[in-house]
Amino acid sequence: MEIANLPISPSHRAKLLSAGYTTFSSLSAVSPSQLARDLNIALQEASDILKVVSDITRSESLHGGNAILKGAQTAWDMLSEEQMQKRITTGCDDLDTILGGGIHCKEVTEVGGVPGIGKTQLGIQLAVNVQIPVEYGGLGGKAVYIDTEGSFMVERAYQVAEGCIMDTLDKFGHHRKVILDCQEQMQPNSFLANIFYFRICSYTEQIAVINYLQKFLAEQKDVKIIIIDSVTFHFRQDFDDLALRTRVLCGMSLKLMELTKTYNLAVVLLNQVTTKFTEGSFQLTLALGDSWSHACTNRVILYWNGNERHAYIDKSPSLRSASAPFSVTSKGIRNATSQCKRVRMM
């Protein structure tokens, strides 16, 4: 806003401009008495003008500082906001380290790997871990689990919830008061009840559910993570027109990106691997093609290294390339058992 648009009398505006007060900042340091002298007006009038100016300045800074657009933020505000954010722990310390503390809210993270490497296990683990109460250092949120493959097993989710509760209580064993406060929450059944489960049998249903989430999340503000296991399955059939597939997928990823920002939640997409025919040989690569690889903020690849499971940050704007071992135990995702060669930075 400029002086010329200031909601004060036109004569005062003219006097301000002719006295050399052309910007808001020139008015910020001036005292009412000095302004009254400069403009040759009454003291009361001068302090009224300054009050109007300071009101406007304050309300503008509330809506994003010097923003020229409503809804925009300065990088400084974003940084402090991000530092306040909690991460969703994966259950494995090394994996959390290379992820910068865990899975970030407001970001779309893609996780890929061969069958049996532990993608679904990680998905179930995150759906459980997001529910660790705030008193125990968690987010105390709920989870949306979109199952396209039928791999979500209730008995496994129950085991993982049990394991998570046991380990969380162990860690906070000395705070008896906290334990009593959260006794009801810290039951495997209530963990399961806080997972909203959608079973999808076609890609049209998948798109419909993602469209529906907009409405659903407006009612369920507690949801802190959306897991799609896997984003790929229904898009690997029936698509002869690959350009169409790309358009549909891009639309979907834009919607998900928007959801993460609007509702401050994390989106985790599980993806399959496929062999790609390049330069006469077959290479392993994540499915859905090259244009899809731009759709996610972070990309994590799970792979076998000898007999150990490893995770590798393949793409991220803020994390550096690194790999870390993890293991899948009866309790869920945990640290790799061998203590040697921990995190390897590259």
Partner: protein, 336 residues
């Protein structure tokens, strides 16, 4: 034609009365999901898979010929007829076969041990058998199966679907060229999506069998060419002294929920043990060839890495308790 932006939040589901209807998509609570399991018909094997094969998901049995895939399938057909108190589903079943004439005599021999008339009056009335000749044939058959599942011709609902074997259908028709492989994997995903939809909609157990291929070029490293990519809990799988891996490649492995590997190895022993496989009871120059059979959990969303030896005798397929002190039940920290 595809509408990339469906305006309504509706999805097509089959209602109880067998009619298709558009119902709103709603989240479910995991606490209300079906968790029933179908027993394999042997307590030892059931312990390996924690009670049986789960409804609503696709389980693959992979193994070379003669490892007992079809035997287990036949046993499942009969086990499904039993009431839930005996590990069954009180359900009829559909057996789609592509390999050989349906082994009716073998099935009849299994009737007495698994579905005695005291438990199930007319078991063979509830087992539907249909051959499939090509992948496209299977796909159109599965579409027609919707009607069978929604309106079962017998008194019992059909809740077990067996495809024996999926690999035989795909063996001949496709070349090893990128275009053919792409067409092939698109068919895999279509068939798998249909099977999974049926498993989910009708709370059915789906079992497919798969063959194995020899592993050529032995490198295990990530991104290596050929078929040596490690899938699941085991760095390598062995059967009859050869290194093998389940057929149909990585795309098909993405299509199934659980993979169980069956293998055999022939040992020549002098003394006959108490439990000897009757099928291969060849006596050559005073020695006995004993076939050791093994069932290994390659991957499963709900099960840890585990394995178990088993035998095939005239009464069926049975697991053998581990003889040594290390038990089959995993310790709390064991790897999955």
């Amino acid at each position: 034609m595809l509408d990339p932006h469906p305006t309504s939040f509706l999805s097509q589901r089959r209602l109880e009365n067998g009619k298709d209807a558009m119902v709103p998509i709603k989240p479910e609570s995991p606490l209300n999901l079906p968790t029933q399991k179908l027993s394999l018909g042997c307590p030892v094997l059931d312990r390996l898979v924690r009670g049986g094969l789960p409804v609503g998901s696709v389980t693959e049995l992979a193994g070379e010929s003669g490892t007992g895939k079809s035997q287990i399938c036949l046993q499942l057909l009969l086990a499904a007829l039993r009431p839930p108190s005996l590990g069954g589903l009180s359900a009829a079943s559909l057996y789609i076969h592509s390999e050989f004439p349906f082994p009716l005599r073998r099935l009849r021999r299994l009737l007495t041990p698994f579905a005695p008339s005291s438990v199930v009056p007319t078991p063979l009335d509830h087992i539907f058998v249909r051959p499939a000749h090509s992948p496209d044939d299977l796909l159109s058959l599965l579409t027609a199966v919707d009607a069978l599942l929604a309106r079962p011709p017998s008194a019992l609902p059909v809740r077990l679907l067996v495809v024996d074997s999926i690999a035989a259908l795909f063996r001949s028709e496709f070349d090893n060229t990128p275009a053919d492989l792409k067409r092939r994997s698109s068919l895999f995903f279509k068939i798998a999506a249909k099977l999974k939809e049926q498993a989910r909609r009708f709370e059915a157990v789906v079992v497919v069998t798969n063959q194995v291929v020899d592993v050529v070029g032995g490198s295990e490293s990530y991104g290596s060419s050929g078929n040596a990519i490690r899938v699941g809990n085991y760095g390598s799988l062995w059967s009859s002294g050869r290194r093998v891996c389940p057929a149909l490649g990585l795309s098909w492995a993405n299509c199934i929920n659980t993979r169980i590997f069956l293998s055999r190895s022939d040992d020549i022993v002098r003394n006959e043990r108490a439990l000897v496989d009757e099928e291969s009871d060849d006596r050559v120059h005073g020695t006995v060839v004993r076939t050791r059979r093994k069932m290994e959990m390659v991957f499963a969303p709900h099960l840890p890495e585990a394995s178990c030896e088993f035998v095939i005798v005239s009464e069926g397929v049975f697991g053998v308790e581990a003889q040594s002190e290390k038990s089959e039940t995993p310790s709390p920290t064991s790897q999955i």
